[in-house]
Amino acid sequence: MIESILEALQFSFMRHALLAGVLVSIACGIVGTFVVVKRIVFVSGGIAHAAYGGIGLGYYVKYSLLPLLFAGGDAAGDPRPGSWPLLGAILFSLLAAVIMGLIQRRTRQRADTIIGVLWAIGMALGIVLIDLSEGYKVDLMSYLFGSILAVERSELLIILGLDVLIVALVALFYKELLAISFDETFATVENVPVDAITIALLCLIALTVVMLMRVVGLIMVIAMLTIPAAIVGHFVQDMKRVMAGSIVLGMVFTVVGLWISYAWNLTSGASIILVSGVAYLASLAIRSLRMQRVAKL
């Protein structure tokens, strides 16, 4: 087993994948904790799926708009989509975060309906834009199901940069983020800028979602974002410890998932999610056993 791990590590794509998994787990553990305690899993799902519109836009710009503008230029010749889809996803997810934030703040009812609609519109827009773009769409599936094995050095740098940004913002606004998560009304009375902080949190979720899309894919982003924090939350009752624990768990899940996917030649994103899911079910079982024991005493 050790031999096969060493063998796997000789491939640069494997090293990149491990590094990406570990780096993404940091942002994921911190932001995911807020998603779980503030109960905004659905909004996060909306942001993730709306981001698909941005991927479509990226494709469209790269394969149809740029060749049109710079006919015969370099861009047209490159078969790979480059960072256009990623940039599109960042743009769209941030946009979705702001819109959903405003909707949640402004409308009393039916916020979930509107979020569901935006979720679907983002997705549909992405598909249509990809239909409209020229050329062969080779790695579309990679955004839906992740492609951690294809992470390049430049993307690792982007992920690292986003990590630093997320950690810095959460550290700077921690007391406000905690306050709006625990008791929005009280935070308002204390003159905390609740609207701005809420939208900032949703933007942090948007950036995390874009990173996670690379690792486990759009469809499973929510699982990766919420499972580690949900598990740790069963056993720890302090926000910062939940974050730390979620980061560690996220790292363990990605590393174990990657190894399983390598050893049995399975899809990496799905392997990571299955490992997380099994761990979550196990933690539920452990918790209910503990509660039964407490009840007996």
Partner: protein, 278 residues
């Protein structure tokens, strides 16, 4: 317990009323949600040192009035001032104790961290809590007799302890006014008594305004009472009158005063008006 029935205290009450500062001023306020008025022409004056209890049926606008006072709901008509200033400034002097109902027991936070949120208004964005903040939080916890439980997760507290934690959080804001929404709705009668005793002690320093549907508890501890059911019936008096109750509840009320001031028991012959029917 101070006896408010003696001529002395009555005179004190009268005199001080003219000298004391008006800390809450509500003038002809109308407020509500989505075209439905919940408060109609409500006027209220509370003075420094007051301990005002407002009772009223569910849906009578108790929480709405607090939301207006806290600047969470702008009135459609009328004016509200706190310490002579607009509510969004004046609310800095208010310690707010919400009703303990919709509460996430699993939220990973300690009593200490909850109470420290009372310091948010004193420490703006990008500033860390200071040693002074921690001292204020510790003092607030001691007053609420929760200091020993400060490391507990908030979800592990009993109903009464949680209520005291929210009171401690409000005290940590170093308020001049305490606003409480149904402070005893989730606790049993004995604990309820403890909470009112705590409030009476605090009333030496802060003005208190609380709303509740629990008439008997309110009327035995507060200095002045009023009835709120869309309209407010409050004259700065110590006792609920049958007239006030009838006006507020719009149903006949058997009023029995057992010779004890502030004690009022009322029996309803009809159900209380419901949320949407009222």
């Amino acid at each position: 317990m101070k006896d408010w029935t003696t001529p002395e205290s009555a005179r004190w009450l009268l005199e001080s009323k003219t000298e004391r500062r008006e800390v809450i001023a509500v003038r002809h306020v109308w407020a509500g949600y989505d075209h439905e008025q919940v408060l109609e022409d409500v006027s209220l004056s509370a003075y420094e040192g007051d301990f005002v209890g407002l009772i009223g049926p569910n849906g009578g606008g108790k929480t709405t009035l607090l939301r207006v006072l806290l600047g969470l709901l702008p009135p459609t008509r009328g004016e509200v001032r706190v310490l002579g200033r607009p509510v969004k400034e004046g609310r800095r002097a208010i310690g707010y104790v919400p009703q303990v109902i919709a509460f996430d027991r699993d939220f990973p936070i300690s009593v200490w961290d909850v109470v420290r949120m009372g310091r948010l208004g004193h420490r703006g964005l990008l500033k860390r809590y200071t040693a002074e903040d921690n001292a204020v939080v510790a003092e607030a916890l001691r007053q609420a007799e929760l200091f020993d439980l400060r490391h507990r997760p908030i979800g592990a507290l009993s109903g009464g302890q949680r209520q005291r934690a929210y009171i401690a959080r409000a005290l940590a804001t170093q308020p001049q006014i305490l606003l409480l929404d149904e402070p005893t709705s989730s606790v049993d009668p004995q604990v309820s008594g403890n909470i009112y005793e705590l409030l009476r002690k605090l009333n030496d320093r802060v003005t208190i305004l609380l709303v509740s549907h629990d008439m008997s508890a309110i009327s035995s501890y507060v200095k002045t009472v009023g009835c709120l059911n869309r309209r407010l019936f409050y004259h700065g008096g110590q006792q609920l009158t049958a007239e006030m109750l009838e006006l507020a509840y719009q149903c006949p009320i058997d009023l029995i005063a057992h010779g004890v001031p502030h004690r009022v028991f009322a029996t309803h012959t009809h159900d209380e008006p419901q949320e949407d029917g009222a």
